[in-house]
Symmetry: C2
Subunit: 293 residues, 2 copies
């Protein structure tokens, strides 16, 4: 039974219906970076054997193959390709660097199309010491430049808001409200948002903003893992589902309420798990997925 | 000259007036925890000699003296006492632990009154795995219990919102909007908010919420330091003003716009600076304060 929840204004107990537990792996997707020690062919083969139906491909894992060969590898193993990670990083101090970022994003979009990935995930960028409003304006301008390429390639773009702990150097977009605002400002159906529980679980507006994304048909992807207490590394100490404090099943319920029908993507960066045997880690992922998502 | 800023929707450059640099130390206050290696008498003596006019006292630094003796020490050195840190931690899994937290806060209020501190800073608490709404309801209930004691003692209470990176275990109040909501719900003039730039600098609503706190006469304290890139420790790697990415002078301008007339309190937890000679560190604080606040 989940812990009781209370309305924060009235103190009254809230009986929120949770979705039923997952009974199979049909919506499971794993990010290649989650099993980072594996090269792409190893990962594809292991995922297939483990009954994982879908994969999100990190750009680093395609290096050495190219997207066309990567696509053949993944198709040979019957894996559905959910998204390509990652583009973005639009914020930069010089206009030359911002132009280079746009050009790089165009390449990412072309690679995604060749790979057969319907979605590119965008980590938007930030420059230490540059006002966040300035970075946000640069991000918007960068998006304006790449949206036509994405539309032409038939690839959707998903803005991933990053936890405020990354506001200094990785993303000036730190809440789902900001991601929704940005997606709506550009007003193109191919631009939406990515909900990652690691980044957003703490936000008191999360349920409301997930519902808003859903109403606007912008709920493109859902990334899962857990936030450990204590967290010992700012980037590489994510937990398996159930190991931390994120109310994952509630958030999945909010996603489903909002009409999300995509995959539940396991994205765990963990120096601890990367040191383990990756086949055993994959079995742990499956058990944690069924028990806690 | 500060970096140019741009409106994030229109891309137009924003020319925001910054307040003039500080020309003296008259509003400088230092937290005893900033110079943690010093015992209270050493800190008081060093602050006086360095021309620091005011001090915020951490509870740990009073241990071994008691608040009455601590008050005499600080008065002997002519230091104004700005606040007493810290109460709170209302969220707890058992009702016995929540009652104990209330009792502990009553003691903190009594100590603050004896010390002559007009304000107690509250870090509100969170329980790993407990829904944040539940923690927030417990926080509200804890505040309801202690407000009458604070009023009777003539001590104000300041809710400090903590960075979302601490939402798992230290505070379920993570934005100034939440702190303002909570202070307004209880509707007593002795309950207000503490703005700490380390916790709040990233928030796109910060200027608006500072203005709201000011309109409601709830802007009780202002804590300063900087956010370093990279930050290597989640608790103990804060930077000196100017070492990181926080637009400190802009935020000071927002505080002044909102009518804040209190001290600028230097609160730096840093294993790096604590290893240095604390007199040299104090001189660095003064220089950084004048150059970057």
């Amino acid at each position: 039974m989940p812990p009781a929840s209370f309305d924060e204004r009235t103190g009254a107990e809230v009986r929120e219906g949770l979705p039923p537990p997952l009974s199979d792996l049909s919506r499971l997707c794993i990010h290649t970076e989650t099993t980072s020690p594996w090269k792409l062919p190893e990962a594809a083969s292991a995922y297939e054997r483990a009954g994982v139906p879908a994969i999100t491909v990190w750009r680093e894992s395609v290096a050495g193959h190219g997207p066309a060969e990567a696509r053949r590898i993944l198709e040979d193993h019957g894996l559905e390709i959910v998204s390509y990670v990652r583009g973005g990083f639009f914020a930069a101090a010089s206009s030359a660097a911002r132009r280079a970022a746009v050009a790089e994003n165009v390449r990412v979009i072309e690679e995604a199309a060749t790979l057969g990935a319907p979605l590119v995930v965008l980590v938007c960028g930030a420059v230490p010491g540059q006002p966040l409003e300035t970075s946000r304006a640069q991000i918007r301008q960068g998006l304006e430049h790449i949206v036509p390429y994405a539309e032409a390639a038939g690839v959707r773009l998903g803005i991933e808001a990053l936890h405020p702990v990354y506001a200094d150097s990785r993303s000036a977009i730190n809440t789902l409200r900001q991601a929704n605002d940005l997606a709506e400002t550009l007003d193109t159906p191919g631009l939406g948002v990515v909900v990652d529980v690691y980044h957003l679980w703490w936000d008191p507006d999360l349920r409301k903003e997930i519902a808003r994304s859903g109403r606007n048909n912008r709920l493109f992807a859902f990334h899962i893992c857990d936030w450990k207490t204590p967290t010992t590394h700012l980037l590489l100490d994510r937990g398996l589902m159930g190991e931390g404090c994120i109310p994952l099943r509630r958030i999945r319920g909010w996603m489903e309420e909002a009409g999300f029908e995509g995959h539940y993507e396991v994205e765990i960066f963990s120096e601890i798990y990367w040191r383990e045997d990756q086949r055993e880690f994959l079995e742990k992922i499956k058990r944690a997925y069924l028990a806690h998502t």
